[in-house]
């Protein structure tokens, strides 16, 4: 299968603290990759390095036919990568001065020069798909956390990116709102959209992922099919983590 994104040897330090110590990742077309790991293991930083929200110190990124060294990426490369990817944030980060529909349209109209009428049509279609067709004129402050995150997913999907990066999309939500967001993410996965998801939702990882990556202390400890990782982890570190998580939340896997 063709690779959408390949990352090789990413390194990133914040001051003296080395957060990523040479991480490589290969994401294939249509795949759902879930990155697991304890907090502080560098999962989020890895995701943010992919679309240059953090500037990695070293490593290489290949997206389609474009290959860039993180350290030497120019403004144009960064913009190209950002226009081929989309991101869903932990804190939603909807544009608070724009309505739900305008949030979805913004990247289409301003960044990709899609005609406004067409963008509006696409925005309405995507909002309907996440079950918010009636909320297109609502401002983010008028929506619940779960609704905001669903708008954010619609905003990402509407851009028709080669990959959507999810950065702990359910971590900031009230427990009873997690389900609606996961359901939308499942629907997105079923459409065959390539996703890289950082999450603590084990059931989602188990049911939806094609590929699970376990990270700890800035390195990939183990990766493979979800069945392998969840039922036959090879590394002691992975076992410990899974035991802790599963005891804590009592997931039936």
């Amino acid at each position: 299968m063709k690779s959408v994104i390949q990352i090789k040897g990413v390194r990133k330090s914040f001051g003296k603290n080395e957060v990523l110590k040479g991480v490589s990742l290969d994401v294939k077309t249509g795949e759902v990759v879930v990155i697991l790991g304890p907090s502080g293991s560098g999962k989020t930083t890895l995701l943010r390095c992919v679309n240059f929200l953090e500037n990695a110190d070293d490593g290489e990124l290949t997206i389609g036919e474009l290959s860039v060294r993180f350290r030497y990426a120019g403004k144009k490369d960064i913009l190209t990568v950002r226009r081929r990817t989309a991101m869903v944030f932990q804190n939603y980060n909807l544009f608070s001065n724009k309505t739900a529909a305008e949030n979805v349209m913004e990247g289409l109209v301003t960044a990709r020069k899609v005609p406004a009428a067409e963008a509006r049509e696409r925005a309405e279609r995507e909002l309907a798909k996440v079950g918010l067709g009636g909320k297109r004129d609502a401002y983010p402050s008028q929506l619940s956390g779960g609704q905001q995150q669903r708008v954010a997913i619609a905003r990402a999907v509407a851009l028709n990116p080669e990959v959507i990066l999810f950065d702990e999309p359910t971590s900031a939500l009230d427990p009873e709102l997690v389900g609606e967001v996961l359901a939308v993410m499942r629907a997105v996965a079923r459409e065959g959209i390539t996703m890289v998801v950082v999450t603590h939702e084990m059931s989602f990882a188990h049911d939806i992922a094609n590929h699970v990556v376990f990270m700890d202390d800035g390195l990939v400890v183990e990766e493979g099919a979800p069945k392998e990782i969840f039922f036959h982890p090879k590394e002691e570190r992975t076992k410990q983590f899974l035991d802790r998580i599963q005891l804590k939340y009592d997931y039936s896997i």
Binding site: N51, F52, L53, L79, R82, R83, T85, A86, M87, F89, N91, N93, L94, F95, S96, N97, K98, E106, G107, T110, A111, R112, Y139, S141, R155, L159
Partner: protein, 230 residues
Amino acid sequence: MTFDSVYVWVSLKAALRCLHVTLLLSIVSLVLGMVLGTPLALCRKFRVRFAAQAADVLIPVLKGIPLVLYVLILNFAILKPLDALAESCAWADKLRLMDKIYIGLAALSAYSAVIVSETMRSALNSVPEGQYEACFSVGLTRGQALRRVIMPQALAFAVPVLCNNFIGLIKGSSIVYVIEILDVLGGAMASAQVSYRFLEAYIAAALVYWVLCAGAGRGSKILEKRFAGR
């Protein structure tokens, strides 16, 4: 001499004849302050080389100088070089009678640029970092992000403070009487030169400034409501 309200009325009429000068001074300096101050704030926010460093040093210094000194310093800084010219061309009279409103405008605008740049800087800092990241993640450039998302939100934060800045400029503009510009205060005082009714004249001027500031305050409330509608 007892207080005589008739003279308040006389001075009030004199002050109102000069109302346009006060309005011109405060509105033009607010607008110029925004035009000059906003780019200054952006330079500091995004650490534009040289401009940011220069602003970091200059703005705290300029913020510490009272408005009356802006007026006096600019008055001499602008007039002194003209003196020599006037002497050689026999313009002495022209210079003496020159309309000094341009000096007042320059002083108030410089002062306003400093104040407004601080207002805009804190407004820009009030927009969460996540808003920039969201812009970048959908592929907007920094300029597009500023125009479409960041500045509209920063302005909403800035409106009440800008209105306060404007009220400060209306009242501050009265200081131009030291270089003999006939604004509301100057007009009221001029009317008292004949009658020596200074207390009445000051009270008349105070009334006019109070009404202007109250009006600006009302305007602020309306603008705030419009921006808070989302």
